[in-house]
């Protein structure tokens, strides 16, 4: 059933915050687009605008379709996603040692981004349906649901998305009833296992992943090579100062000292151009988004809605923290885009679809007592 009520002021605020962050992203992408473009090439910011339009369609669709009907097919959708993740390993396009993309004509599609959203859906469905009594129901079963997807993503390998996956599972299990004590025990247990697992993990990592972790500790060991990203990103952010350098004077971004300025390091671009004041405004927007999302979650009409909203909140929140943390040098560099800002089709559309789903949860809550 399509909900035809006109949006209320809460919903308008939500949409404005989302559009605001999207706009800042486009401006930043614009500022690092090379000019003039070579002939016949569409500038990146224009492409991103197109992705946002597609994202809006996904957003509206996600608002319109009742999440209950989506949840009914959660396991099927998850099964399909797992098949996609297997297929991408077999016939996906590989780049820089990772096989993550499907190429559809000129477009690329990254199934692991969609997988995150489907995982949220399937875990919400699971936690909403079961009694959530005992640790088998709370941890082991949802863990077993998460595991195949996680392993397939690690196989690509896509460390960043795998971490998102894990975080979504942990935070949903937490909201879904895992006791803080149990979580503490789990963390303790994992850290005790870690030294033994470390050898296994370390050897399974690609060289570039190891380098990223090593140079995270000290980028100056190889400033021109492996520590280059981390160092240049820190220089870009730091040199922005209190007020920023503006679009023209932001030399780290404009002169390409900062690599990947339109994707993973877009936060550094923004911070260089707008300074502490600008980033503070951006952080306020993200804080507002977190606040509004958790409002939607806590006022959901049923556990399914609440869990769904909490999952989406944790997904967006995690990507935000890790991405910003890595550009500022307090987290190793893993390929996690900044939600709603980084250039990229799959990430933009998925993020917007996820936020649409969030609004969907909000719009169904009044039907509780009908």
């Amino acid at each position: 059933m399509i909900d035809t009520r006109s949006p209320d002021s809460f919903e308008w605020r939500f949409v404005l915050v989302v559009l605001g962050i999207l706009a800042l992203g486009v401006i930043s992408i614009y500022s690092v687009s090379p000019s003039p473009m070579s002939k016949g090439q569409t500038p990146l910011y224009a492409k991103q605008l197109a992705w946002i339009l597609i994202g809006l369609v996904a957003f509206l669709a996600a608002v319109a379709i009742d999440y209950h009907s989506l949840a009914r097919h959660a396991y099927v959708l998850y099964g399909l996603t797992l098949i996609l993740l297997v297929l991408v390993l077999v016939m996906g396009r590989s780049s820089r040692g990772a096989q993550r993309w499907f190429a559809v004509g000129p477009l690329t599609f990254q199934p692991s981004e969609v997988a995150k959203l489907v995982l949220i859906l399937v875990l919400s469905k699971y936690f909403a349906d079961v009694q959530r009594a005992g640790w088998i129901q709370r941890v082991i079963v949802p863990g077993l649901i998460t595991l195949p997807g996680l392993l397939l993503i690690l196989k690509q390998p896509d460390l960043g998305t795998a971490m998102s996956f894990t975080f979504i599972f942990v935070s949903m299990a937490l909201v879904g009833g895992l006791h803080a004590k149990a979580l503490g025990l789990g963390v303790l247990f994992t850290s005790m296992l870690f030294p033994f697992a470390w050898e296994l993990i370390w050897t399974s990592l690609h060289d570039y992943q190891r380098d990223r972790i090593l140079t995270f500790w000290d980028p100056m060991t190889d400033p021109a090579g492996k520590g280059y990203h981390a160092l240049q990103s820190r220089i870009a952010i730091g040199s922005g100062g209190l007020l920023g350098k503006g679009l023209v004077e932001a030399t780290q971004s404009r002169l390409k000292f900062l690599p990947e300025g339109h994707t993973d390091f877009i936060f550094a671009v923004f911070a260089e151009q707008w300074g502490f004041i600008g980033v503070f405004v951006l952080f306020l927007l993200f804080a507002a988004l977190i606040f509004l999302a958790s409002e939607i979650a806590s006022k959901a009409k049923d556990p399914l809605g609440l869990l769904l909203a909490a999952g989406i909140l944790s997904m967006v929140g995690f990507c935000l923290m890790v991405n910003v943390g890595m550009t500022m040098g307090i987290f190793p560099i893993v390929g996690i885009p900044l939600p709603l800002m980084s250039y990229g089709g799959t990430t933009t559309v998925t993020s917007m679809a996820a936020l649409g789903l969030l609004l969907n949860v909000k719009r169904r809550r009044l039907t509780l007592f009908y």
């Binding site: 959530r132 879904g176 009833g177 952010i237 730091g238 002169l255 502490f276």
Partner: protein, 616 residues
């Protein structure tokens, strides 16, 4: 009801735990803000500095050196464009690939490139990798600049000596300032890679010639490509020099020396202007100024004929019989001897156990001072020397400037030796022997002089006793103001001898050319006065080895001297000619002096001063 309560309870639990998530995320955002404050506000200036270092490169703009002209405005040294290859270590992405590409494109050995990369400490200061690239090489490198980051081809000016090797010793050559040079006062504060004079006028007048370097600050992108110019301080070209040199005469002098080693100096006795300063063998200063390779340098430095030596002021030779002029002066000034004192020359002079011979077998017969000069009678001067003693002779020789620097505006002038009893005690730690005085009175033994000193001395004889400091640069034109500043001629003071002494010597020297040993300098058009000299190269007289000069091995032959001036009545040119290892001065040196003087006097009525003014 209970089911509803449980469900409700459960939902409340979910909401409560959701709060942890929200609080956790907002707390993380707060932590990130704190980190952001640290990076942007606390460490902001530090990172801004790093960003500037990323972005900005400083390029030195090398000034064009001043031009050098001869006295008639003929161009001797200018600058031509040259493509130089610079490398900024900071901007290099792929050292191996770069070294390989340079070897392939311009033939620069890989090892050499890598060595330079290691040597450079400041990674963002460009280093000169190779100068004087061909147009083709420059084009090849420009074509690859996108993948060869850090390289830049820059068009700069390169010193060019228009006349090739002509005048090379007095012009000198240029090169990158060396660390040793940077410690000298005149070269202090120069940036690494500055081009400075290494010899000759280029070195002495470097301060004027070098100009002031400029600086261009450019913005580069991450690949090292120049994006825009941030600021420019233009370079100021160096000042132009106008030499007293007469290029036409210089060229003639060098061709007269030909393949022989030797030197010719010609001065204007009226003001000390250096008209000619030739030294043979010469070198091509263009080769030395264009990035000399170690191999080539080794080749030049180890050449046994020493082409880099300016024999005119660094070659120290026994003056031979030309020194009789000084001995005669001493005799005329002394009360122990007079012009009329007669000596019978029988071809030899006994002193102790040694028998000193005259150059002429059988001797000259009875001689007075005048004829002894004209015939260059050795025995007569042996007697004079023995009577006067070495210290009197030395004193007079010093009055003519021997044993002292002439003060010419060129580096590394040698002073020769004017021996005396005091000198021998001090330097050799031995007493003076009488026999050594006998040798010294005909310009042999310890005594040595430079051709330049002899030219100054004969000039002083010709002008009645005025010793000039040789002047090589007549004027400098400041680039900034266009003002022509003339350097005055400097007199080192009169030679304190009686006027009669000069007249006597002048008459005798004229007679040397007319009827004496200098006959081959006699000219139909010009009245030339002069004195021959034949300097021994080894302990014994070369002529003792054989009477036929051609039969003596080259390195044992005597050095030929001729000092002269003309016109005898009103001197305008004073010349000293030295040709190494040829033989008699009258045979080998005198004709050279004659040819030079005749050529000079052909256009001596041209007023040179107007020529300089015409350049303004």
């Amino acid at each position: 009801m209970s089911r509803f309560t449980t469900q409700h309870e459960d939902f409340r639990n979910l909401q409560r735990r959701l709060l942890y998530l929200r609080t956790g995320l907002l707390f993380c955002l707060l932590l990130l803000s704190a980190r952001l404050w640290y990076l942007q506000v606390v460490k902001g200036p530090y990172y801004r500095e790093l960003a500037e270092q990323n972005r900005v490169r400083t390029v030195d703009l090398k000034p064009a050196r001043g031009l050098i002209f001869d006295r008639h405005g003929e161009l001797l040294a200018n600058n031509v464009p040259s493509f130089n290859l610079y490398l900024t270590v900071e901007d290099i992405r792929d050292r191996e690939g770069l070294a390989a590409a340079l070897e392939e494109l311009i033939g620069l050995p890989r090892a050499e490139t890598k060595k330079r990369l290691v040597q450079q400490a400041k990674s963002y200061v460009p280093i000169l990798l190779k100068s004087g690239l061909t147009l083709r090489e420059a084009a090849l490198l420009e074509g690859r600049r996108l993948d060869l980051t850090g390289l830049r081809v820059q068009a700069e000016s390169q010193r060019n000596y228009v006349q090739g090797p002509v005048g090379s010793h007095l012009l000198g050559y240029v090169g990158e300032v060396s660390p040793e040079q940077q410690e000298e006062r005149d070269f202090a504060g120069l940036i690494q890679g500055s081009i400075v004079g290494k010899a000759g006028v280029e070195k002495t007048y470097d301060r004027m010639l070098r100009g002031k370097p400029g600086e261009k600050t450019i913005e580069v992108d991450a690949r090292g490509n120049e994006r825009k110019t941030v600021s420019v301080v233009e370079q100021t070209p160096g000042d132009d020099l106008y030499l007293s040199l007469n290029l036409r005469l210089q060229r003639l002098a060098e061709s007269l020396l030909g393949a022989e080693s030797g030197a010719i100096v010609a001065l204007d006795p009226r003001n000390g202007d250096v008209l000619v300063m030739a030294s043979s063998p010469a070198y091509d200063p263009n080769v030395l100024s264009r990035g000399l390779t170690p191999v080539l340098w080794e080749q030049i430095a180890s050449d046994t004929r020493h082409p880099l030596t300016n024999r005119a002021l660094q070659g120290q030779y026994p003056p031979g019989s030309t020194f009789k002029i000084m001995v005669a002066s001493a005799a005329l000034e002394s009360d122990k001897w007079s012009a009329d004192t007669k000596v019978r020359c029988a071809g030899a002079f006994p002193s102790g156990k040694h028998m000193f011979k005259d150059w002429k077998k059988g001797g000259h017969g009875v001689m007075d001072l005048y004829h002894a000069i004209v015939q260059s009678c050795d025995v007569y001067f042996y007697n004079v020397g023995q009577r006067l003693g070495i210290d009197t002779i030395a004193e007079t020789a010093r009055l003519f400037g021997l044993g002292q620097p002439t003060g010419i505006d060129l580096p590394s002038e040698r002073v020769g030796v004017v021996p005396s009893t005091e000198w021998k005690q001090r330097v050799r730690k031995e007493p003076w022997y009488v026999g050594e005085t006998i040798s010294a009175s005909i310009g042999q033994g310890y005594i040595t002089v430079t051709p330049l000193q002899m030219a100054v001395a004969i000039g002083a004889i010709s002008n009645g006793g005025t010793l000039h400091r040789p002047r090589l640069v007549r004027a400098v034109r400041e680039r900034a103001t266009g003002r022509l500043q003339e350097f005055p001629s400097v007199e080192r003071g009169p030679v304190p001898l009686q006027e009669d002494t000069f007249h006597f010597l002048q008459d005798a020297l004229r007679e040397v050319v007319l009827h004496g040993t200098g006959g081959r300098a006699r000219s139909q058009s010009i009245s030339i006065a002069g004195k021959t000299g034949t300097a021994q190269t080894v302990g014994a007289r070369a002529s003792q080895l054989s009477t036929d000069e051609e039969a003596i091995p080259k390195q044992f032959r005597d050095h030929a001297w001729f000092v002269a001036y003309a016109p005898a009545e009103e001197p305008q040119i004073a010349v000293a000619v030295l040709v190494e290892n040829t033989g008699h001065g009258g045979t080998y040196a005198a004709p050279i002096a004659k040819a030079l003087i005749e050529e000079y006097m052909k256009d001596s009525d041209v007023d040179d001063r107007h020529q300089i003014a015409g350049q303004l």
